[in-house]
């Protein structure tokens, strides 16, 4: 797969989750990524951008979410940064603990970690939180590409 880079900056509105996911999906499809990789990466992207909008930027429409994507050598690397107050991932509850099983929220980061190979958090240059996700992606079988 040849290299592709993408840089998106969106406002803090939930409809932009769809926009970011679609753009990354299209870029991955162009580079020949298979359906399964695109599905799970797409879900991780949705969770990361939704977290940046909701928990990072607290739905403040004047704050932006920055998304950098690099697809190269069979890997996709995505960094999602917000302009919020910062966040400590260690404070996130374990969604598998019996007392949390019936909670209606708190599963997003858990899903991101399951869908991607690596997920790490750091302070963003903008002062908020930056999450970096990486995953090895498989190529679509040749027969599917020809259809």
């Amino acid at each position: 797969m040849s290299e592709r880079q993408l840089h998106l900056t969106v406002g803090s509105r939930f409809e932009n989750v769809e926009l970011v996911q679609s753009a990354i999906d299209e870029a991955m499809a162009e580079r020949g990524a298979d359906q399964d990789s695109r599905h799970w990466v797409g879900l991780a992207v949705r969770e990361a951008v939704a977290n940046a909008i909701k928990h990072g930027n607290r739905l403040d429409p004047s704050k932006r979410v920055d998304v950098e994507v690099r697809i190269d050598g069979g890997f996709v690397e995505i960094r999602v940064s917000d302009e919020g107050e910062g966040f400590d991932p260690a404070e996130v509850r374990d969604p598998l603990a019996p007392e949390n099983l019936f909670r209606t929220n708190g599963r997003g980061i858990f899903y991101m970690r399951r869908f991607m190979d690596e997920v790490s958090y750091a302070a963003a240059a903008s002062g908020g939180t930056s999450v970096l996700m990486r995953k090895r992606i498989a190529a679509e079988p040749a027969s599917s590409q020809e259809q």
């Binding site: 989750v17 949705r46 019936f102």
Partner: protein
């Protein structure tokens, strides 16, 4: 997301189609369940065959619907989970919380 409502023998069926995701699909599901409860429904079957994507907000709405209906003495069950929706519920062990059926016939018989 599209939601079609129908009833079979006192059991209210919600057929979901599309994405149960943050901002739209999750809200539509919440409103549909609340409307059924307001109408006095106590047996709800959620048909998921045509769901293409569910995120953590959608999962949260399913959990919320389940606990709300159960706390009112009703029953909420799931049928026809696509493989990727099944995976999502497996990963967070919610598959053990919901009653899940492979066919509508089995699900209707279970109420």
């Amino acid at each position: 997301m599209k939601i079609e409502k129908r009833a079979v023998g006192g059991i209210n069926i919600l057929e979901l189609e599309g994405k149960i995701t943050i901002g739209k699909g999750d809200v539509a599901l919440r409103e549909a369940v609340q409307q059924l409860l307001a109408e006095g429904a106590d047996k709800i079957l959620i048909h998921l065959e045509k769901v293409t994507t569910i995120d953590s907000s959608g999962v949260g709405e399913l959990v919320s619907a389940f606990t709300t209906v159960t706390n009112r003495g009703g029953k909420l069950k799931l049928v026809n989970l696509p493989p990727k929706v099944n995976d999502i519920l497996q990963i967070t062990q919610l598959i053990t919380v919901f009653e899940v059926y492979d066919t509508e016939e089995e699900a209707l018989a279970s109420f």
